[in-house]
Subunit: 332 residues, 2 copies
Amino acid sequence: MAVTIYDVAREANVSMATVSRVVNGNQNVKPATRKKVLECIERLGYRPNAVARGLASKKTTTVGVIVPDISKSYYAELSRGIADIATMYEYNIILSNSDKRATREVELLEDHLGKQVDGLIFMSDSLSDEIRAEMATANVPIVLAGTLGDNTDLPTVNIDHEEAAYEAVKKLIDNGHERIVHVSGPMSRDINRLCKKVGYERALKEAGLPIIDEFFIETDNTYDDAYEKWAVIRELEEKPTAIFAGNDEIAVGVLNGIRDEGFSVPEDYEVICFQHTLLSRAVRPQLTAIIVPLYDLGAVSMRLLTKLMNGEEVEDVNVILPYHKEVRQSTK
Amino acid sequence: MAVTIYDVAREANVSMATVSRVVNGNQNVKPATRKKVLECIERLGYRPNAVARGLASKKTTTVGVIVPDISKSYYAELSRGIADIATMYEYNIILSNSDKRATREVELLEDHLGKQVDGLIFMSDSLSDEIRAEMATANVPIVLAGTLGDNTDLPTVNIDHEEAAYEAVKKLIDNGHERIVHVSGPMSRDINRLCKKVGYERALKEAGLPIIDEFFIETDNTYDDAYEKWAVIRELEEKPTAIFAGNDEIAVGVLNGIRDEGFSVPEDYEVICFQHTLLSRAVRPQLTAIIVPLYDLGAVSMRLLTKLMNGEEVEDVNVILPYHKEVRQSTK
DNA sequence: CTGAAAGCGCTAACAC
DNA sequence: GTGTTAGCGCTTTCAG
């Protein structure tokens, strides 16, 4: 049996209330008493039981994080931002992978809530009706990180993907391109369907360029799929001269497709993408990209959550973070 | 106030013990009663409080995971393996980043233990005396994943990095190389110092080749540092003809250094490395590599932990997983 | 500044 | 099959 607050109290000849006070840094303890208690704690090797504390105080100092897949560097980086701020505010994190499956997401949310997390950060492709309903029953704050909260009043932290996509495509257009392919991630993902694609089309329209259906290539967001999609691009009736990729992994897939067949970038094709990983800089030519502040997305989400958990009034619960564009060798 | 087991009991006209039984799937409940209780649970939206349960049962069904840095794909991949098996056995995961700082590691361990985790998976570069001492006080099983447990009797799951390194270097030697540089991660990391470097030297010795101090290049394990280290390699008195890199990120750094100066791989230099990420396949030329089964390392660690938590007798608590070599374009 | 006492919501004997 | 009754280890009034 582990040593409890009661053991310490007996050893120190005080009540457990006093021990509790010193453990919790309550100032209403005579220094001498505090010292005595601290010694006993040390001597007995007392370790406060956070579960008991959680039950009594109704606060667990842990927050839930539901993420599609932690092995994807996009989410890993974001999670690190969350974790660092969590640490700063002395929260632990319960981390679960949903694989974006709606039923799994609901299970996990239910599960985390049962574990009495003080708050929750949720990431996904889109919000199913079930998850919205489940979230509505939650009695703790929930923040959506890098996830569109459309039609909900949930707090969110994002970048303006549409504007970023617009800017990326605009860059290509300014470089003289008229036939630009958009190699996208899955349309099931709100950010792809509602933001990146829309920004792409807006840039085209604004420049008076036609939106060609065949120029929209959907991938499953993997390198390998993108690599294979090059064959599709190559066979296009109308020959494109530039590529706007949804992220760098996709971009590198296409890039390698292009180069493995003897074409070159940026001479034959210019390429621009969203940067999520080191890949953008590690390939040759290095990719011109929209830099997504993943770490910050996580950090700001967690910071927002701490405010919410703390009952602070937050002026705007829909935060938009800045991004920037870095021009490298894949564009002229 | 959330609805409790007591509310359900009252509503269903049974005792809280009965409600507890149906919630926990205990068979000793008449089907009719079960049905009635289930309905009330549904109607009231009852969600069992895992904290109270944890306090009463002394089991939290959560395990701690202490990882150097989840944003590194090495650990992210490994953690996914852990998480999947954890899910399978209905455990949650508390995930914390240590940044490999010994004091932080001790704090975290203490913290997780305080949260009453049922078990713990630990990853680090090496085990400090403090962490060993702290681990000794733990009353729950701890598994080291991808971390050398040298001189401890802690359960571990690893691959044979020394043998793998030996094999990689042997491949280079077999290809006719006599001057092979080892671009390593930090020596502070046991796996680098005690395994990869040793395997490298063993292969050299066995082939009657000299071990040249200057041919050992230490990096901080980042792409950028490795990229810069190329300048060092280039200026070497004795000119090497092959590179053995500690991982693919390093390898790509060196590779880009080589290629950005107009040399080529594998013609001028052959390169081999340990593969941790997609990078190995995404660069050109693709890298010949030792494939490290990161996901499995995590999965097997967690599986082992479940056995330990379950009090099962485990024949061998030091598991060595197989790896394999994949020959690609960076070697001839 | 310190102590006593009442829970927090649930599990786990132990009765019936 | 079902109910009763102790706790689990701590926080938190409320007294003093």
